[in-house]
Subunit: 222 residues, 2 copies
Amino acid sequence: MSSDETPPETSGIGSTRVAAYLREAILGGDLRPGDRIRQEEVAARLGASRLPVREALRMLESEGLTEHEPHKGARVTSLTQHEVDVIYRMRERLEPLALTESLPLLTDADHEQLEEVQQRIEDNTDLEKFLDLDREFHMLTYSGCSIDPLMSNVTRLWNSTQHYRRSFVALGGRSRMWVVNSEHRLILDAVVRRDADDGERYLGGHIRRTRIELGRHPEVFP
Amino acid sequence: MSSDETPPETSGIGSTRVAAYLREAILGGDLRPGDRIRQEEVAARLGASRLPVREALRMLESEGLTEHEPHKGARVTSLTQHEVDVIYRMRERLEPLALTESLPLLTDADHEQLEEVQQRIEDNTDLEKFLDLDREFHMLTYSGCSIDPLMSNVTRLWNSTQHYRRSFVALGGRSRMWVVNSEHRLILDAVVRRDADDGERYLGGHIRRTRIELGRHPEVFP
DNA sequence: TGACACACGTTTGGATCCAAAATCTAGGCC
DNA sequence: GGCCTAGATTTTGGATCCAAACGTGTGTCA
């Protein structure tokens, strides 16, 4: 008979969907560095089996969001202050390269969209929204760069430091937001002028300053 | 005793072992860029089921050795000439950072080992052996750097370009090997003197020169 | 009372079976 | 004769079941 105890198949839950769910949870701050991720728990919550969860955890690992130890399970990536410092130094060197690769290929439409995102950043007051918009701004400036190894590297660096960036912005307050906006405006101007040298200069300075300010707040680290 | 016939399950065939096998095959040149990797084929060859193979492929993906497309399977990472060029530019920026992090922590024993490896490079005549020794030399200079996100990035960059490096060395011949050795000697000297500035200078130049020479050989790319 | 050892529960790793998607092949139609 | 379509085969994705490893808690012995 109908024997439909279990619905057809929901068209496959998909490890991609599980990965998206966990990625959102980690980047959104629901899962914090060092938190253990139990396969069965996630599987039950999403109504899937453990197998796509395992696949998803591997994907997240390659995105720098989780760490995996044999027979001990997966945890959200946790970093020391020194590690975050080095990651910012990596960003200082890599992202200007991505910008230089991207610059010549950005269209006028991209420039307009960048202008609009930056305006939204300046009008914004919400912390979580700032993290999203800031990421969107920078990624947009790199969107002309089609070199996958470079872009996935950059994404990894952003991913693994997202939590510390949130903590930092949360306590740093909006007092020095004008500095961020000035830097963004200078980067944006260099982008519109397609001036790679200036772009690298201001972008590098932007990341470097953030690294140094972050270094003054050891309290956000374990 | 001597009950080590073999069978004691070896504690499971292990996705780690499968990954090691495939890694060796790719870095050794048995699998070439663009080659498709069929799960069942590998599973059969190693006497395991397909599941650890799937896990292994995810690991390799996070190491930059394979690419994965849903429902289409895994392939050995294949790069265009421009992508390899950018990866070398990434190396020019990242590896000097790794060297600077590593330098202060290297011991006298490390210095002796470096000297010995470099001597083996100069005595060596075999192509495949050179690839291994060259990698060993550079990785040794970075071995004091314990920052995982940085070191796994560097490893990824080496992994994904290994095949093109082999092709390049194969046709470039040993005519300009003296340049490599001079650069290595200068890097080694800077390491022993613990001079990070000079180390970054010569290492950056070493990678840059290789990138430019590689750019003169479009025939190694598809 | 403290420390070591053993056993149990929990969690991850692996094997087999089944479903869905993609590729390949063959046949028909234009 | 070439191209498009439809079915068959191949290959990947997912679910369930079973085995192995880690962590913990308790019990016993010095």
